[in-house]
Symmetry: C2
Subunit: 252 residues, 2 copies
C-alpha cells in the first residue's frame, strides 16, 4: 500500500456553557464527520472556557500541530464573545473591521431594527482574515491562515461547513466498515488484537452494547485502503464464525 | 464577599469513536453537572485518540494544573483499551493486577462464561491505585492520585460518579440563575457587559434562540455568592424592562 500524506485537524470548542453542562455539544460529531469526507482526520478536540489565555494557549499549540484548526463558539455580539480577540492575540495581529462583513451585517439588520455597536462587533476579524459565508444568519465565519472560526450554534456551523465543502486539501478519506455480533467483547478481545496486527493500517474499534437482554458488540474497522479493509473484515468474520459467533454486516 | 478557594477539574475523553463522529459524547455534560454539585468546576476538556503518547501528554499537563483529573473511555477488555497503560506510563509506575478487582471480575464472570485473559485485563491498574466501585457491570473504575479513571459508556460512568459523590473536597458550588426575554441578544449586548462589570464575581452568559418565528435569548448569571447573584439578576431584569423587554424568570 502506498502511504499517502495524512491531513489532520484539531477543534477547539469555546464556551462556558459546555463546561458548565448547560449545553450539550453537537459540533464535535458534525465537524468530525464532515472532515472525514474532506479526507481530513480530526485528531484532537479541546473544550475551553470563555477566557482569553485559555483560548490563546490552545490555538497556538494546535494550529502549529495540525494542517487545519477549527473553532466553534464565541463569535456573537455579546461581551462573552471573545474568540476573535483571542485568536488575533494568538496570531499577534490587530483586530480590524472587515468591510465585506460590515456590509453584510448592515444589510442583514436593515429590516431587523438596524445596525448597532453590538451587531457591528460581528464584523471584527483578525487582520488579514477572510470570511466564511453564513447563509443561516448575518454574521459570517472567519478564516485566518489555517484557522477556521465558526459559530457555536450547530445549524449555523453546519451552513458554514457547507460553504467550505471541497475547498480544503485533504488526503485519502478514512474508510470504515462495521459488523456486529451477539458476543461479549471480552470473549473475543484476543482475536480482535491479533486480526488488527495482521492487517497493516487497519484499526479495529470494539463497541459493546446490551439490548434485548443480551450483550453484543459492533466492530468498526477503519483504513484508507479499501482492499485491506475488506480483507480485515473478512478475517474478522471468519474468526468470529470459527468460534461460534456469526456476524451481521453493517452492525447490529 | 470572601473569596473561597476554587477547586477545579479537567476531563480527558479517550476514544477514536468520538473523534471519528461515530459516537456522540454524553460524558462532558453529566460530569460537568456532577462536578458542580461537588463544588468543583470543570475548566477544560480534551478529546484524544486511542494513542498512548496523546494520552500521556494530556494526563501530565492536566493532572498538574487542576485539583482533579477525570478520564473516560479505554478501560474495557479489548486491544484498543489502553488507558491504564498510558496513565501508568504518565505516572512512571508499573501496571499491576489489583487483587480486589480480580476477585470482583472472577465473581462477576462466574455466571457469564468464566474469566479469560481479556476480562482479567480489566483488573489491571497503575501500581498504588484504588478502585472506584461499578455497580452496573463488573469492571471497576480506578483512582490513581488525583486521577479518576472512568468508563466510556455513559450509564456506567454515571454509576461510578454516584459512588464518588461526597468523597471529593470542593469549594462553594457555582450557583446559577436564568431569565429569558424575547429580544435579539445583539440589541442588548452593551447592557449585558455593563451589568456584568458592575457585579463582581458574576458571569453573564447569553444564549440566543429562534422559536415560534421570533428571536429571543436566555441569560444565565453564575456566581458562588447567592446575594450578588440575586442583585445581578434584578439589575438585568430592570435594565431589560427599562428598554421595553420584560423577562421571564427561569428562562424561556
Amino acid at each position: 500500500m502506498t502511504q499517502n500524506r495524512i491531513y489532520t485537524a484539531a477543534l477547539i470548542i469555546i464556551g462556558d456553557e459546555i463546561l458548565s453542562g448547560r449545553t450539550q455539544d453537537k459540533n464535535i460529531g458534525q465537524i468530525a464527520l464532515w472532515l472525514n469526507i474532506q479526507g481530513i482526520r480530526l485528531k484532537e478536540v479541546r473544550v475551553v472556557a470563555d477566557d482569553q489565555d485559555a483560548i490563546v494557549e490552545a490555538v497556538n499549540i494546535l494550529r502549529a500541530r495540525h494542517d487545519y484548526l477549527f473553532t466553534t463558539g464565541g463569535i456573537g455580539p455579546t461581551h462573552d464573545d471573545i474568540t476573535v480577540d483571542a485568536i488575533a492575540a494568538a496570531l499577534g495581529v490587530e483586530v480590524v473591521i472587515h468591510p465585506e462583513a460590515s456590509a453584510v451585517l448592515h444589510q442583514y439588520y436593515e429590516s431587523r431594527g438596524g445596525i448597532n455597536p453590538g451587531r457591528l462587533r460581528m464584523a471584527r476579524v483578525p487582520d488579514g482574515a477572510d470570511l466564511i459565508p453564513n447563509k443561516m444568519s448575518g454574521a459570517p465565519g472567519i478564516r485566518a491562515g489555517n484557522i477556521f472560526i465558526m459559530a457555536g450554534v450547530p445549524h449555523i456551523t453546519a451552513g458554514m461547513l457547507d460553504a467550505l465543502t471541497g475547498t480544503l486539501e485533504g488526503g485519502a478519506p478514512l474508510l470504515s466498515r462495521q459488523i456486529g455480533c451477539w458476543v461479549a467483547e471480552s470473549e473475543v478481545a484476543d482475536l480482535l488484537g491479533k486480526i488488527e496486527k495482521a492487517h497493516e493500517g487497519c484499526q479495529i474499534g470494539s463497541y459493546p452494547f446490551f439490548r434485548e437482554g443480551k450483550v453484543g458488540a459492533n466492530f468498526v474497522v477503519r483504513s484508507v485502503d479499501d482492499r485491506i479493509l475488506d480483507q480485515c473484515i473478512s478475517a474478522l468474520q471468519a474468526g468470529l464464525a470459527e468460534i461460534g459467533y456469526p456476524t451481521v454486516g453493517g452492525g447490529i
